[in-house]
Amino acid sequence: MTDLALEPASRGAPQTSSRGAISIRNVVKTYGSGASQVTAVDDCSFEVAAGEICMVVGPSGCGKTSLLNAIAGFHDITSGEILIDGETICGPDRPMAAPGPDRVVVFQNGALFPWKTNLENVAFGPTMQGTMTEAAAKARARSLLAEVGLDDVAERFPGEISSGMRRRVEIARAVINEPRVLLLDEPYRALDALTKQVMHEALLELYYRNKVTIFFITHDLEEAVFLGHKLVISTARPCRPKTIIEVDIPHPRDRSVITSPRFRELMEAAHEAVRQEAVAAFQAGDKEG
């Protein structure tokens, strides 16, 4: 790993192995005002340890993306505070965090730049920040693409490759910045089961090689238990942790854990928690409608 890329991401923070702890404290996010006001996140508090894979699970529309956007700095929070490694990124004095390469988002519907090749996409961060020369960034990008098995499509455009490949390129584009936190918003939602499986293994591979904190939104429970150290199961809107499940299956993991009894037990527990909320969400929807 080059220290070059480390620099921008960790500006001002100690470069220890404890990078990327997230503290979410009493965060509230409301949209609009008056009658049309929607509270997406309400008094939400939980901690994500440095280097942890935290899976945020909740019914659609519960406010998961709103929470992620607040961490990323795409919008403000109404009240509360979010800290990364003890540093307040948004809080009472400063309702909106500044987006930056220490917290890189992989978007729900993908956001590669279609007019840049896959290689240029991956090299984009360090090139723009000026932390690497363009040549160095491209060399690093190429080796990251090789890590996810995509060196042969480096010179192609995102529109020319499959959606599964695009997701891997996008994750490589994030990882090259050596962010403290990787924010993934249902990245594999549109993929078929087989491709998803490949994606999970590719992601874990990258994770083992490039230690980073992962904040991962999903509503696929198997995905959540397979990848996560921890599941934060949210209530139906507004988003707030209802149950936190520690996944005590040791990393590194491979597909074989799926058939283990412990995996099944954890799935059951997660399922029960989610089901209650899904029912609640459904009934709330009924009332509103």
Binding site: A72, G100, F107, A111, M128, R156, I161, M165, L194
Partner: protein, 297 residues
Amino acid sequence: MTEIDAKALGADGAVRTASAFPPTPTTVARRPFRASPKLPLSLVGFAAFLLAWHLAVEVWRLPRFAKLPGLVEVFVEWTSTDPMYGVSLFTAEYYQHILVSLKRIVAAFSAATLLGVPLGLLLGWSQRFREYVFPVFETLRPVPILAWVPISIILFSGAETSVVFLTFIAAFFVTTLNTMTGVQSIDPSVVRAARCLGASPRQIFRHIVAPGALPHIFTGLQVSMGVSWFSLVAAEMVSGEFGLGYLINTAYAKIQYPTIAIGMITLGAVGYASSALVRLVGARLMAWRLREIGVGR
């Protein structure tokens, strides 16, 4: 097969995840963007059109068509070294008309592009700017080109400037509007991604907004080129001493019907060529788009 792809084969190795990992094409052929029609087929089309013209006017002499210039008559005049009405492929005057029109098109189209693209980018990028400017813009835009004639004559002293102005004006609106739409069509996630990755506003403008708007800009430029010719001919018919529009109009006044047809055919050909040129430049700048939509494979 890479390591990861190989895992995708599964235990029995039979499941090639063909949909997830399509074979990588190795060659990329270049063809014009939104490829111009294939030649042999278009020749058939042209032949059919010319035949219909010939039959309607010169063979069957259909009631309303009989007075029109016939195909043979036009062809003879056009290729004559000593044309009856003074304009053919072998007269300097013919090329002067073309050249004058082309110069006006180049001036007007360039001005429309140089002003319209930046204005459109700004309109799309800055909501504040859009709120100030767009209502004015939208009020002026529907005013037809002929309604601008008096103003342009009052505004500019020479006929030349006012013809160029009239040619410019419609093209400018088209280019600006399409550029603005282009910026607005950019996926907001893409802009957010760039901000996440540490790009400054200036870098976002250069690397995201401008290339992201490019497909719409070039669609706009193609339309704008067409609109330029349209307005040019209208303007040349109103005022001007040379140009293809002027040629057609005076030929009509002097009852030189074959010359009208010569003017029209020439307009069509030059107009087609200029649009093809815009397409070609667009294709050069947007290799990604070509390959994405599969034309370039």
